[in-house]
């Protein structure tokens, strides 16, 4: 003990510490440039991601256990209440669905008339959120579906009430996704009422989106539903994004100050849905044929 203390407090310093720090910092800078400029490091990121996966599973375990316990121990009255609530909801949804199938059929017919490809049906799969970014100003989440299940970069993610975000990096079994409220995220939307096209950008707050490019004389008012326009290519058309909250027309400025509230509850979801839109499916099917 005395010996080890004496040797570790030896003034002879750790060999070549300064050089090692300089080399490692240069390596980090090189990595950052490669990672930021082009996405060359996906393979490396995936390899490290596979090593981190057990940590995420362990961290997630108590939450899963809690959910499981809560489901297992909720009493009969609560369950009956929930069953009746779900039945009512199902009735309502069925009624809506009937209308939807009629509309879908009509839409297909009209599209045939226009000789356009039908794009109404999308394939959907439920994913669970495993982690959220520790940095509160970057609204990123990690979900438990990755390349193995067919997820791809730019894939749209929705929940029961609206668009949640899109995948930005896929791993083998997990993917990282950016929420629509992230300050660096924007998506093309249109006003459901009149088809006015614009862009909705994230603000860093879960409950607010900005619509920065609405002219002062544009026909938009609080309560308008914004849906995806499908024009950016990433999101399939027609999913609800947000409801316009405030419209503040400033006479001196070229654009009005318009904010909207996301339709999806971005900070409360634990399950989300991934959409394979029909155009992306076509691409997927064409790729193997090329190989």
């Amino acid at each position: 003990m005395v010996n080890s203390r004496a040797s570790s407090s030896n003034p002879a310093r750790i060999p070549a510490l300064g050089i090692r720090v300089l080399l490692l910092m240069a390596a980090s800078i090189l990595l950052m440039v490669l990672d930021h400029r082009q996405n060359h490091l996906d393979a490396l990121r995936k390899a490290i991601g596979a090593a981190v996966y057990p940590i995420q599973i362990v961290v997630d375990a108590p939450f899963r256990l809690w959910e499981w316990l809560r489901e297992g121990t909720s009493d009969r009255g609560e369950l009956r209440l929930e069953v009746s609530r779900l039945q009512a909801e199902r009735l309502l949804t069925n009624a809506r669905l009937q209308r939807l199938s009629a509309l879908e059929a009509e839409n297909a017919r009209l599209r045939e008339l226009l000789e356009a490809r039908s794009q109404v049906r999308d394939e959907i799969r439920v994913a669970e959120i495993m982690a959220v970014d520790a940095n509160p100003y970057r609204h990123n989440i990690v979900i438990d579906i990755g390349e193995r299940e067919g997820a791809y970069d730019g894939q749209a993610i929705v929940d029961a009430s609206g668009v949640v975000g899109q995948i930005i990096k896929t791993g083998l079994t997990t993917s990282q996704a950016m929420l629509i409220s992230d300050p660096s995220h924007s998506l093309p939307v249109e006003v459901n009422r009149n088809g006015l096209r614009t862009i909705a950008s994230g603000t860093g707050e879960f409950g607010r989106l900005d619509l920065p490019f609405i002219t002062n004389n544009a026909d938009i008012r609080p309560g308008d539903l914004l849906v995806t326009s499908g024009l950016g290519g990433a999101f399939p058309a027609g999913y609800p994004v947000a409801v316009v909250d405030t419209v503040n027309r400033i006479p001196q400025e070229p654009f009005a100050d318009v904010t909207a509230v996301p339709a999806a509850s971005l900070d409360q979801v634990r399950e989300v849905m991934l959409i394979w839109s029909s155009t992306a499916n076509l691409q997927d099917k064409e790729e193997p044929a090329d190989e």
């Binding site: 750790i14 490692l24 980090s28 990595l31 950052m32 995420q56 961290v59 990096k169 300050p183």
Partner: protein, 163 residues
């Protein structure tokens, strides 16, 4: 000494894995801004106590893991952790004999430097984060430092008794 250090790496690795877990535990939005940098605190302690075993190389690797776990630019935390571990090793003899308050002040300075490096890299890379958001982890990190110190000291004493 190095072989004995090799035998007793496991508790240190487990403490770092636990710190990584604390970094990815989901937290409510308001609390996440004040999440202490557990990994940085743990590495500062081990670099101070065992500077030969836990040096800049291991800090760099752990930083890469942290980058992937948090989805930041690959190399950002690696660079910042590597640098603060370097500073810690430079002053580890002094830090060992510092009284509690002075050590806490030093840790505060190191954490501030760490956050500043992260902030700087974010700025260069164009990641938009308000500068105010960086102070939360520095303050909470300094506040939880005594507890980290007590827990890790307990681990270290147990490891050395095991020798």
């Amino acid at each position: 000494m190095s072989s004995a250090g090799g035998l007793h790496r496991l508790p240190v690795i487990l403490s770092i894995v636990f710190a990584l877990m604390l970094m990815v535990v989901p937290m409510p939005d308001w609390a996440a801004a004040f999440r202490p940098d557990w990994v940085a605190l743990t590495l500062i302690y081990w670099a101070m106590i065992l500077p030969r075993t836990w040096s800049v190389g291991s800090a760099w690797i752990i930083g890469m893991v942290l980058d992937v776990a948090q989805g930041t630019i690959l190399g950002q935390h690696a660079l910042a952790l590597c640098f603060i571990v370097f500073i810690t090793i430079r002053f580890h003899l002094l830090m060992r004999v510092f009284p509690m308050q002075q050590l806490a002040a030093t840790v505060f300075a190191i954490l501030a430097l760490y956050q500043f490096l992260l902030f700087w890299i974010n700025g260069v890379a164009g990641v938009d984060v308000p500068a105010v958001g960086y102070w939360g982890p520095v303050i909470t990190g300094t506040l939880v430092w005594p507890f980290v110190l007590i827990v890790l000291r307990g681990i270290r004493v147990r490891v050395q008794l095991g020798q």
